[in-house]
């Protein structure tokens, strides 16, 4: 896995003022708009788990394949760096290909915030996750802001699974929440069904059901 990754320039850190936060000086901040080839997605979830535990779960990057779609493996390469491998579609229709990139954590505030960016490889992405108590403190509000250029990462999502890459970020947070709250990710893949008709493939793709649901893990039993 020690391929040298030099195909693309490093992603820039997220600009100041465009963080995952949604409130600045009492005013609501809308998410950044897509421009200059950059795509942004901001999504949030209300999770009934302590911020500290959620932070630990997110920070344990090697467990990301358990809840992030299409991520094959994540290997730590240093205190704040890691190497990511994602499944992608190959020109050869019968088998999947992979794309790979390195990532580094730029800001690491335990129980509160993690910001990262890719530093080389097939993907040009940067992101941030913020964990904060919801108003009144009855749960944790988790906000993710992710930015990518329409490079191989984004097109991998799109071509392989029919997921718009923005939707993939939303789905990943949904999986994260389900896993954190229940110890599993809801799934139907593998259940029985009768004969699918002529247009089943089209419907499956239309319903965005082709992505393999990540395996999840059992945090409550461990």
């Amino acid at each position: 896995m020690s391929k040298s990754l030099n195909e693309k320039p490093n992603a820039e850190p997220l600009p100041v003022g465009a963080t995952a936060g949604v409130i600045l000086n009492g005013r609501y901040l809308p998410p950044p708009e897509d421009k200059d080839g950059k795509m942004w997605v901001r999504t949030s979830a209300l999770i009934h788990v302590d911020a500290e535990d959620l932070y630990k779960m997110w920070r344990d990057v090697e467990s990301a394949p358990l809840w992030q779609e299409q991520i094959e493996s994540v290997t730590r390469t240093g205190e704040a760096t890691s190497h990511w491998v994602m499944r992608s579609k190959s020109k050869d229709k019968d088998k999947d290909d992979t794309i790979e990139w390195d990532s580094e954590i730029l800001k690491d505030e335990p129980g509160r915030r993690i910001a990262w960016r890719s530093t080389g490889g097939d993907s040009d992405n940067a992101g941030e996750v913020v964990f904060e108590p919801s108003p009144g403190g009855r749960a944790t509000m988790v906000t993710v802001l992710q930015e990518f250029r329409m490079g191989k990462l984004a097109s991998a999502w799109e071509t392989l699974v029919g997921r718009n890459p923005k939707q993939a970020v939303i789905e990943n947070l949904r999986h994260f929440k389900a896993l954190a709250e229940t110890g599993e990710i809801p799934r139907t893949q593998g259940q029985p069904h009768g004969p699918r008709g002529m247009i089943a493939g089209i419907k499956k793709s239309m319903y965005d059901e082709e992505t393999t649901t990540p395996p999840g893990l059992d945090r409550k039993a461990s």
């Binding site: 009934h48 709250e181 229940t182 139907t188 069904h193 009768g194 499956k204 059901e209």
Partner: protein
């Protein structure tokens, strides 16, 4: 195993499919002992609910014996007899904690589909379209039950299946409809639709203190059944009957304190507005036929409550909102929060306060189910409720 599959509009077939397996740590596999066809299955049969796929296994009212459990199911054992709620809830999210179980955030693997169509997602449901989760249903010999630590209700007494089966949906649904109707002691309650949910809404309205229940339908066997539990009936199909006038006549001119719409999106109406809705839905300017909802809003007394257990799926036309505002009515509705009602209603059955099996008219095998879907849809053979024994030959 054998399973009843949706194969297109007005087309259901029994197929041999693979047995379900444990896919998640909180799953259980049930061997189904009894299952039923629900009125809302007819909305699927008629093609009114989008995101169905050929081969989908139908059925959301079922009970059975636990055959296998996932490694984190701690409350059930192989051999337990359970009734399963049709809504799937995780027990840990914001909504489950608020006991709005049917709004659970963590059980619909296809939440994105529902968000795209409606802007939100509810919980996953068994056998009720991909948008609602795409879970295989229980009109089959076996079923996988996710989040089995939260939903299934153990039946520890020797009550026969038929007396407890309807705890899976229609009895709690009828009961919640009556609860949503905010009935006060000695109120008058009108119930549109005397199918199974309407029947249980009538029975529950009496349990909650209603002094008079007025039941509205057109099918003689249903009206007869409603009268048998104490309701006064109005047959809207009789030529000289106006429902609005009848409800005034029966309430000293003020209208019922509460109105329950146990019909929903496929209401039939003999009047001009019925034809209007049929045409508009046919040309897709409207998705639902809300003639019952219109009547309920028009007839409820000032400051009264309209409760809606009947299913609606989309856009409604010509709903008299001015009357709703002017009278200051309350409207309550939604999928049943099953988990709140199953245990208390089981207790009522155990105490002999109600025997829900009184609504059953047909007992059939799985192989007879495709024919019986059609019979029920066409309102033939005096069908009130069909129960399936999936192992009977």
């Amino acid at each position: 195993m054998k399973a009843l599959c949706w194969m297109g509009s007005s087309k259901v077939e029994v197929h041999n499919v693979s047995d379900p397996t444990i896919l998640n740590p909180h799953d259980a596999i049930l061997k189904i002992t009894r299952t039923a066809i629900c009125g809302s299955d007819l909305h699927l049969y008629d093609g009114f609910i989008p995101t169905m796929e050929e081969g989908d296994i139908l059925g959301h009212e079922f009970m059975g014996i636990v055959e296998e459990i996932g490694k984190n199911v701690t409350n059930l054992q192989r051999g337990d007899r359970v009734v399963v709620p049709f809504t799937i809830a995780c027990g840990n999210c914001e909504f489950c904690k608020k006991k709005i179980w049917s709004a659970c955030d963590n059980t619909n693997p296809n939440a994105h589909l529902m968000e795209a169509a409606y802007g939100y997602s509810g919980s996953g449901l068994f056998g009720y379209s991909h948008m609602m989760g795409g879970y295989a249903g229980g009109q089959a010999q076996y079923v996988r039950v996710p989040f089995a630590n939260i939903g299934p209700l153990k039946i520890e007494s020797d009550l026969p299946d038929e007396k407890v089966l309807f705890l899976s949906d229609i009895f709690p649904t009828g009961y919640m409809a009556a609860e949503n109707a905010q009935i006060q002691e000695n109120d008058t309650v009108a119930v549109w639709g005397c199918g199974p949910v309407g029947q249980f809404a009538i029975a529950s309205a009496f349990m909650l203190g209603a002094a008079r229940v007025i039941a509205i339908d057109r099918l003689p066997e249903r009206l007869e059944m409603a009268r048998s539990i104490g309701a006064i009936t109005v047959d809207y199909s009789e030529e000289d009957v106006s429902v609005l006038t009848a409800l005034k006549d029966l309430t000293g001119g003020i209208g019922p304190d509460s109105c329950i719409d146990a019909v929903g999106l496929e209401a039939h109406s003999a009047q001009l507005q019925g034809i209007y809705d049929k045409v508009k839905t046919a040309i897709m300017l409207e998705t639902d036929r809300p003639s019952v909802l219109r009547q309920a809003i028009q007839s409820v007394r000032k400051g009264g409550t309209v409760s809606i257990p009947g299913v609606y799926g989309g856009l409604l036309d010509k709903v008299p909102f001015g009357a709703a505002f002017g009278k200051g009515i309350t409207m309550k509705m939604g999928q049943t929060n099953m988990h709140n009602y199953m245990k208390p209603l089981l207790e009522r059955i155990e105490k002999g306060q109600i025997d829900p099996s009184y609504i059953i008219s047909h007992r059939i095998t799985l192989d007879q189910a495709p024919e019986m879907y059609k019979v029920w849809r066409d309102k033939k053979q005096s069908v009130t409720k069909i129960v399936i024994d999936p192992w009977a030959a």
